[in-house]
Symmetry: C2
């Protein structure tokens, strides 16, 4: 005989609930927590309720709760600190910056880049942007380009496209004056949390524009990174084509 309720779901016996919902309780808890994150009930940098409160809220045991949290921690959505609490991950420099900026000097040295905004324009999604962002060709998008420098030397060009729908009030000035990382800015300014990216890499040759911005000869070999960035529920919110000069740097698959 199962329990009579599933606590937060309250849908009948343990067994019936299992058949009716996800079958696995900790997965249901995880989903509920994911919903609390996606809906903004728990905000970046804030502590979520303590384990004791969460087991009351969800009506599960400590082990089940911890298993749900374990997975959210593994996915970098939450960060646990013994003695302090469990926190919603942010994109502040200290936290996750090098998870998304994988450029390293060839001797392994890592450094924060300086960013210069060189283009900002409204436009209509082309085919590749529409495919990448799940839009229709012609939908309104914002395109902007950053030049990233390391040790004062331009090393990477990021050509970024976002749907206007998700960033309706975004202005060039805001972008230029943002105090922190771009993904942190998405987070603070628009409530959009980038939690995952998919990236594909190619080699390409510098065109005149690249050559100009990156101070290399046209025809140089560049590493091209095609990135789609995802928010909660696999929602695509940014498409980015980066070009990296690998004369002195490289793209690393190792996390620091």
């Amino acid at each position: 005989m199962g329990r009579v309720t599933r606590g937060f779901l309250a849908v009948g016996t343990r067994f019936d609930a299992g058949a009716a919902i996800g079958g696995v309780l900790y997965k249901d808890v995880k989903r509920a927590m994911l919903a609390a994150l996606a809906e903004g009930e728990w905000k970046p940098a804030e502590a979520i309720p303590s384990e004791r409160k969460l087991i009351e809220r969800f009506g599960v045991s400590i082990g089940t709760l911890r298993k749900a949290i374990d997975e959210l921690v593994a996915e970098n959505l939450l960060i646990r600190h013994q003695g302090r609490g469990t926190f919603v991950a942010t994109h502040r420099m200290e936290d996750h910056f090098f998870r998304f900026f994988r450029v390293v000097r060839q001797d392994g040295y890592r450094e924060y880049p300086t960013v210069r905004l060189v283009r900002f324009r409204r436009g209509k999604a082309d085919k590749s942007e529409a495919v990448a962002l799940g839009l229709s060709v012609g939908d309104a998008v914002l395109r902007f380009t950053n030049v990233l420098s390391l040790e004062k030397t331009p090393v990477m060009i990021d050509a970024i496209t976002v749907p206007v729908e998700r960033f309706p009030t975004l202005t060039e000035v805001q972008l230029r004056e943002r105090p922190n990382t771009l993904y942190n800015f998405y987070q603070d300014g628009f409530g959009i949390n980038i939690i995952r990216t998919e990236e594909r890499l190619r080699a390409t040759l510098a065109n005149d524009d690249d050559a100009d911005l990156m101070e290399v000869p046209a025809g140089s070999a560049l590493l091209q990174v095609l990135r789609t960035a995802y928010s909660y529920h696999d929602e695509r919110v940014e498409y980015r084509v980066s070009k990296l000069n690998t004369a002195h740097h490289e793209f690393t698959l190792s996390q620091p």
Copy 2:
């Protein structure tokens, strides 16, 4: 008051043992299991002892054992199958092939490559090989080159270097006739398990040799991948420089 022994370690009370060894019991169990794997007590594709036997062997509770196994599973060293047992991971095609072969057609289609061995020679480690493999310059190495094709078209060149010391009996014929993946061959033929790689990516231009092997014009942009492959205990056993033609394919960071 702690327990009197730590089972397989038997080094005193729980607390003392903690201070003396790793401090965390499940980490000790994990280390012991890692040792059993590294020493070949548990061999690839075989089942390790059941949880019940392991908790007897290590003198820990089921929860502690499972936490140790959880981490080894997360690191892809073990694979659990409910109802069957827990198995040592292998490099057979079905298992982990696409963890190490990250080349995908631009439309996302994945395919096993065909491999052609085009060079095999003994030599002395140069600077970069020595650094990558933790050898001294001049140490004996084997170098061999594979051309990988997808849909009958050459797409990637792998220039591979391994220390002779780790592969003393390796011959060109063996390499040419291996029935399975290269890492599976290392595993079966030399007891060497590749469990992890570090990769760095650059863009480069095709030289005459590349152009010849890959049937592209010299000067084409190619994606270069510098890979160091590790066995247990972070031992470096292979250094590989790959060049990929990204005209129709790309290097993906997504796992299938």
